[in-house]
């Protein structure tokens, strides 16, 4: 597509104003993590809980870590309606623990449009091709969550692809719906912002030592969605001045797996995850951020188109679009 066409698209959209705010690039995961409606604690251990020890295993197995990074390139104000659109880019990829390197990187540029506004073709700015996507609603939050959703879908597709190739997939963040299509994927949740367990159960969680996990429990988030298995795992013990949440992660496994297999997975997760945690010099989210995750994220970010170039070109194109007016 030529630049002339891109300028026409800009005219069609009546893009007048652009702004950007880089501080919203890495928002917290909390919005994605829906509150549970029911927890079953007796799926693995009936009655009183106790920490379960795991034995160390070699991580150099057919395991991939899947993650994505995103960037908002620009917010656009369309016409006189004040509706906004979003230009964004994300990269999803996978790190193979067997090969010790990033084995897949896919990037996608999208323009998220409020409902009712359509684009004939992708918008090309420099070498980036922004695919038009329709948002669920016209609010700023709706547009943003559509962007996140798009990336999550791509992540899930990638996870599914690898799980079909007999990989055990560790995906950053909670499992994505539909769970039936995620294969053998473990959701890896770094931020403990919501307590799923209370009382004695929660005391077991906080008392976990390094490499220990809780018994498996089941989380149901809504009537429509299938439940998921989950367990807490301690990657590193907090020092006296650190929060009891320090070094604590929660894992999720799809409900369509047999409980015995999930038990194996839980043991397995405890056998190597505590040994591939990052240090505070490597990651600002240490120790919960795994080394391969940190590596993957860095390599994924390297795939972004140069932001200054994109923004400058976009400004130029908008100016060009209204030149004769």
């Amino acid at each position: 597509m030529s630049e002339v066409l891109a300028i026409d698209l800009i005219k069609d959209l009546q893009v007048y104003q652009i702004w950007w705010d880089d501080s919203t690039n890495e928002p917290v995961d909390i919005k994605e993590d829906a509150p549970p409606i029911n927890i079953e604690t007796d799926v693995e251990v009936k009655g009183k809980w106790f920490p379960i020890r795991t034995d160390r295993v070699d991580y150099r197995k057919k395991i991939v870590v899947v993650d994505g990074v995103r960037r908002i390139d620009a917010h656009l104000i369309l016409g006189k309606t004040g509706k906004s659109a979003l230009l964004g880019e994300f990269v999803v990829g996978a790190f193979s623990l067997e090969e010790g390197r990033v084995i897949e990187r896919i990037n996608e540029c999208v323009i998220i449009l409020p409902p009712g506004i359509h684009m004939r073709e992708s918008l090309i700015i420099g070498k980036a091709e922004y695919l038009p996507i329709c948002a669920v609603n016209a609010t700023e939050e709706g547009i943003y969550s559509s962007f996140i959703q798009r990336m999550r879908e791509r992540e899930r597709e990638l996870a599914y692809k690898f799980s079909k190739e007999d990989y055990i997939v560790i995906a950053d963040g909670p499992l994505q719906v539909p769970f039936s299509e995620v294969g053998v994927t473990l959701g890896f949740i770094k931020s403990i912002r919501r307590s799923y367990l209370y009382g004695d159960y929660w005391n077991v969680v906080l008392g976990l030592k390094r490499g220990e996990r809780t018994p498996i429990f089941i989380i149901r988030t809504s009537e429509d969605l299938p439940p998921k298995y989950s367990w807490y795992l301690r990657l590193k013990e907090p020092k006296y001045f650190e929060s009891p949440f320090f070094g604590l992660v929660r894992l999720e496994a799809p409900f369509n797996l047999k409980i015995e297999y999930v038990q194996d997975l839980a043991q397995f997760s405890g056998g190597f995850l505590p040994y591939i945690i990052s240090s505070s010099t490597l990651s600002s989210r240490a120790p919960e951020n795994l080394v391969p995750l940190e590596s993957l994220e860095r390599r994924l970010r390297a795939m972004f188109h140069p932001i200054n170039h994109i923004r400058a070109t976009l400004r130029g194109m908008i100016a060009q679009a209204y030149k004769e007016v």
């Binding site: 623990l97 010099t281 490597l282 080394v291 391969p292 590596s295």
Partner: protein, 575 residues
């Protein structure tokens, strides 16, 4: 064959740039590469360059911790293998050399043989060149004769540690290359006319050079191939004469035999008569540089003594040995040296006595009654052969100074008289740090310096060598257009005299193996590494016999006879 691309993450300039090597390829230091970029004004421009550094690293890592995680398979990084290229030449299609940078992303190839010639300007030398070794890609490297023969420059200076296949070997190899190409050289340089070229090699170590005229029976197939690749024949030197000093400790009428061990056949003896020393003003060289610098008045004493001896010899006095000179001088010293302080007279005599101990054996009586005309002269006639090996390795330092000084002086005098630089004479002299040290002044240093500075116009080309150029008078080294460097300590290479090596070559000198040399010449902007073959001629007796060139029995009987003679002489003395 594509080997990589020009990098865009580092500055590419007309003089240097970086390339990233494809992961299926590899490049090493000294490889010669070519890349092409196109420019609106100049069209397609080819860049020729030499790899002078190769680097591999994990890109994008900031800490050693990350590198450790990478080694554990937990952290990904881009493994990059890239090289620094020194551009030797840029060439547009119209033959001009625009100074433009190569474009990032341009494909880089290894240079083929023809491109290698262009990269190192061998094409510009046309026929005025001789092979000087093989490059890392086994293409021949050439020396520009314009800078060897004194046309635009002259002299060669070789630095490096002593050892196998080092300085003298390389100097000899260059002479071999020169004499093998002599016919072509004479065509390329009509001014040479029909004159031959000669070389005088001062042999300072072992008797390696006494078999230059015998083929090396133990030459490996690999070395033969190297000669072939350079277009050089595999054979010994064709026209060689050997000279050795006389054996010491002989009586007045005893036989004068060359003081060599492994070979006697075909070895001539060199020596001087007192008449030659006096007439050619060689008395200076009987004194060591240190003695001369310690006593400033000594110069006057030597001058007076020379004048007096000259006068006496002209009047018919003859001396058979140093001892006779000393005795005569001692007797008359007070008359002859009236103007010289008594202390200086004593010093002069003392030093003359010491000189006699070391140099006395180099002095022969004027005429021996029983010797025929042919062997009467013990002087070195370098015109009789292309290569003249003068063995001085058994001589003391003082005797070496004397021999080298006397021979060089006579060559200069001879050349000055003829008034033409042709025929050319190459002088191969190792241990320049002894003859022309960085500090101090002496007649021998003067003569070496004279050759370095004036030799080009006289047709005397110095192929000088030393372990450490930092200890040699800078004027001698800086006058050499062609500089060669073999294995040496990096600390030595840090001296400014090795500036031509460039920073990276300075670091690698200590890794050079026997047969490897870094060669610099003025019209090639980069010092190149070459490999030269083992000699095609024998360097010891054992290497030469198996070819049948020397009859083993004959050789042994020669030595035996000589030993017998010696024993007899010894017996006579005892009686």
């Amino acid at each position: 064959m594509r080997i990589g691309i020009v990098l865009g993450t580092k500055d590419a300039t007309p003089f240097e740039f970086y390339i990233e090597v494809d992961n299926t390829q590899s490049l090493q230091v000294d490889d010669i590469i070519v890349t092409t970029s196109e420019y609106p004004r100049f069209g397609k421009v080819k860049f020729y360059g030499i790899v002078d550094q190769v680097i591999s690293r994990l890109e994008g890592l900031e800490t050693n911790e990350q590198a450790r995680f990478h080694s554990q398979g937990l952290f990904d990084a881009n493994l990059t293998y890239y090289c620094h290229i020194v551009v030797t030449r840029t060439l547009a299609e119209d033959g001009t050399s625009p100074k433009v940078p190569p474009m990032p992303g341009s494909e880089v190839r290894l240079a083929d043989t023809e491109e290698t010639k262009l990269a190192l300007y061998f094409d510009k030398m046309e026929k005025r060149k001789i092979p000087c070794g093989l490059l890392s890609n086994n293409a021949p490297a050439y020396l520009d004769l314009d800078f060897l023969l004194g046309i635009k420059g002259g002299h060669v200076n070789i630095s490096g540690k002593s050892g196998v296949a080092t300085k003298t070997s390389y100097a000899t190899f260059l002479l071999y290359s020169y004499f093998s190409c002599l016919k072509e050289i004479m065509e390329a340089y009509p001014e040479i006319g029909t004159t031959n070229t000669h070389a005088i090699i001062f042999n300072v170590k072992g008797e390696d050079l006494l078999f230059l005229d015998k083929p090396n029976a133990k030459l490996s197939e690999k070395d033969r191939k190297m000669y072939e690749a350079m277009g050089l024949p595999v054979k010994p030197f064709e026209s060689v004469r050997f000279y050795a000093p006389p054996r010491p400790k002989r009586g007045q009428f005893e036989m004068i035999l060359p003081n060599t061990e492994s070979r006697i056949e075909g070895v001539n003896t060199f020596a001087w008569t007192i008449r030659e020393i006096v007439e050619n003003d060689l008395l200076w060289y009987l004194f060591s540089p240190k003695e001369l610098s310690d006593t400033s008045q000594l110069y006057l004493a030597i001058r007076i003594a020379t004048n007096w001896l000259n006068k006496e010899i002209k009047e018919g006095l003859s001396f058979h040995s140093m001892r006779s000179v000393i005795l005569t001088l001692e007797e008359r010293i007070n008359d002859i040296m009236e103007k010289v302080a008594i202390g200086t007279r004593d010093a002069f005599m003392r030093r003359l006595y010491r000189a006699e101990q070391e140099i006395g054996s180099l002095i022969v009586p004027e005429a021996l009654p029983f010797e025929d005309e042919d062997t009467k002269s013990y002087s070195i006639d370098w015109r009789k052969a292309q290569v003249n090996v003068v063995d001085i390795h058994r001589l003391s330092d003082r005797a070496k100074y004397f021999t080298v000084g006397a021979i060089l002086k006579s060559i200069i005098a001879e050349k000055e008289n003829t008034g033409t630089p042709w025929p050319l004479v190459f002088i191969v002299l190792d241990e320049l740090n002894k003859y022309a040290p960085i500090t101090g002044d002496s007649p021998i240093a003067d003569i070496v310096l004279d050759i370095a500075e004036r030799g080009r116009s006289l047709g005397i080309i110095l192929i000088g060598a030393q372990q450490t150029a930092s200890e040699v008078t800078h004027r001698v080294v800086s006058n050499a257009s062609i500089r060669v460097c073999g294995n040496m300590d990096t600390s030595e290479a840090e001296h400014s005299v090795y500036g031509y090596l460039g920073p990276l070559n300075k670091k690698r000198v200590q890794y050079l193996t026997p047969g490897q040399m870094l060669v610099y010449q003025p019209d090639v902007p980069q010092t190149v590494l070459i490999q030269f073959p083992m000699p095609a001629w024998a360097t010891r007796y054992q290497e030469s016999i198996e070819t049948g060139y020397i009859d083993k029995d004959f050789m042994i009987s020669e030595i035996d006879i000589m030993r017998e003679i010696e024993e007899e002489l010894g017996d006579d003395k005892e009686k």
